[in-house]
């Protein structure tokens, strides 16, 4: 099937049929095969229903193919192929980032429009329009419903990974609103990561991304205290970390890194794993963290990575060394409006015992913060300093 909307509709029809049929007649021996066969019949039904309209040539061809075609030998494979096509279509770079995220959650994740709207704090009508517009663009612009050609594969896979990580971060970082962790989105991203890894088991970055999300998410319960305030890695109660997730993430990462095709997701997961291994903040192997950030920066030079590298360096070699790296980083004042820069600088100044400079930096960071929990955290640090 080459038509996204049709595939989505007939699968939905098949699920509805299953809901009506299975409770009465029992679950069939091969549920997936049953669904696929039913979906095929539903597709034929739909075309017949439209027969009073003039059938387009391609639809005519699909109909003939459906009616004459023997069932594929391997149903599972056929379903997997179809899902993979869906993944790549929903994450096509010709769609806006927002549209990619919404479509992926709707189509691959199976979330309702209401759920997606709630997760992204937009009115339901806005989200519904976004989805309609995205589907219209897929159809109108000629975005293919296929697994990309080999020469496009790396770029397109990156786009898929980025969409899943965006979903995760939206839940994990919660850039606006008063909930520090919108846990449901993290769960959903991890589920999407698992689906993707099943579909492309040979892609080390797909495994790296899943490992990264599992390791980050293992700290979920420790990141927020009983009053809803954000707790930094340094002050987290490590007994609250989810050991099962840490082990799963670490195991996955170890298997992947052996393959010797290292990418940014794997390195970030490795950094997270170093933290997960440490019994407390001081016991962390900060030299290794610093060198991993350096490696990451070589692959992907960005101020965020350099900033994190400078903070790691401050724990490995002292606050002054970290501050020096930060000053160098801000060179031409490029990070003047970047909240994490001022938050990190404030913390290093405080640790270096330069209270007055630290207070100025905390105030600067506060002005740039939208997240309520983070504002409260910075405010508390500032008040401690002023006492």
């Amino acid at each position: 099937m080459r038509d996204l909307e049709l595939a989505e509709d007939v699968l939905q029809d098949a699920f509805v049929a299953a809901l009506q049929h299975w409770p009465r007649h029992g679950v069939p021996a091969h549920p997936r095969a049953w669904l696929l066969r039913t979906a095929r019949h539903k597709a034929i039904d739909r075309f017949r229903r439209d027969a009073n309209f003039q059938l387009k040539r391609t639809e005519m061809e699909i109909l003939t193919e459906l009616e004459s075609g023997a069932m594929p030998d391997d149903f599972d494979e056929a379903i997997e192929d179809d899902r993979l096509r869906l993944v790549f279509t929903c994450c096509h770079p010709a769609l806006s980032e927002q549209a990619r995220v919404a479509l992926t959650l709707r189509t691959i994740g199976g979330l309702t429009t209401t759920e997606i709207a709630r997760a992204f704090l937009v009115p339901e009508t806005t989200m519904a329009q976004r989805l309609v517009r995205a589907k219209r663009k897929i159809k109108g612009a000629g975005i293919p419903y296929v697994v990309p050609a080999p020469h496009l594969w790396p770029e397109r896979l990156n786009s898929v990974l980025a969409v899943i990580y965006l979903v995760f971060n939206e839940g994990y970082a919660a850039t606006s609103g008063d909930q520090p962790t919108r846990a449901a989105l993290c769960d959903e991203a991890i589920r999407l990561g698992r689906i993707l890894l099943e579909l492309v088991p040979r892609e080390p970055e797909a495994a790296g991304l899943l490992a990264l999300m599992l390791l980050h998410d293992s700290r979920r319960d420790a990141r927020v205290d009983s009053t809803g305030h954000l707790v930094t890695l340094e002050l987290q109660d490590r007994s609250l970390w989810n050991l099962q997730q840490i082990n799963a993430g670490t195991r996955l990462l170890r298997r992947t890194i052996d393959r010797d095709r290292v990418g940014p997701y794997q390195i970030q997961a490795a950094i997270s794993a170093v933290h997960a291994r440490a019994g407390n903040h001081d016991a962390t192997d900060w030299h290794q963290v610093t060198s991993l950030y350096k490696h990451l920066y070589e692959l992907h030079p960005s101020p965020v990575i350099a900033l994190n590298g400078a903070v790691a360096l401050s724990f490995a070699a002292g606050a002054e060394a970290g501050l020096l790296a930060l000053t160098e980083l801000n060179g031409q004042g490029a990070l003047e409006h970047y909240q994490p820069f001022h938050a990190a600088r404030a913390d290093l100044l405080r640790r270096a015992g330069r209270a007055q400079d630290a207070a100025i930096a905390y105030r600067r960071a506060l002005v740039l913060t939208r997240n309520v929990a983070e504002q409260q955290f910075l405010e508390a640090r500032l008040q401690e300093l002023l006492q």
């Binding site: 003039q54 096509h92 010709a94 612009a141 000629g142 975005i143 293919p144 296929v146 050609a149 496009l152």
Partner: protein, 116 residues
């Protein structure tokens, strides 16, 4: 499916006539046009004269206004186009990336509307 590939670039930037770079650009266009012709996707295409030659026409309340210059002053100007018959957007995008101006300008890819 037919796609129009609109070639935009800053006329004052890019290779200047009578430089080796300009010769390379023209050769690139020659090779690209040859490629789309031999692969059978070429419908049509043409370069346009500089935006200084543009004239804009509007009819308002029955009277015709004629204005010197392009419809909108923009940083990049429309310099030419191709119409290609491709299987899907991915194919059209791969051709767009091969248009020599893509290296210093940008190519907008739009499907052509089909009336059924």
């Amino acid at each position: 499916m037919q796609f129009m590939l609109l070639i935009y670039s800053d006329e004052s930037a890019g290779p200047k006539p009578e430089t080796p770079e300009f010769g390379e650009l023209m050769q690139g266009y020659g090779a690209f046009t040859e490629e789309v012709k031999t692969s059978g996707v070429m419908e049509s295409g043409a370069p346009l004269q500089a935006v200084a030659t543009a004239t804009t026409v509007r009819v308002r309340n029955g009277s015709t206004e004629i204005i010197d210059g392009p419809f909108a002053e923009t940083k990049e100007q429309l310099g030419g186009f191709y119409i290609l018959d491709c299987e899907d957007l991915d194919t059209a995008l791969s051709y767009a990336a091969k248009i020599p101006t893509a290296k210093h300008g940008s190519i907008e890819v739009r499907p052509i509307m089909v009336f059924e």
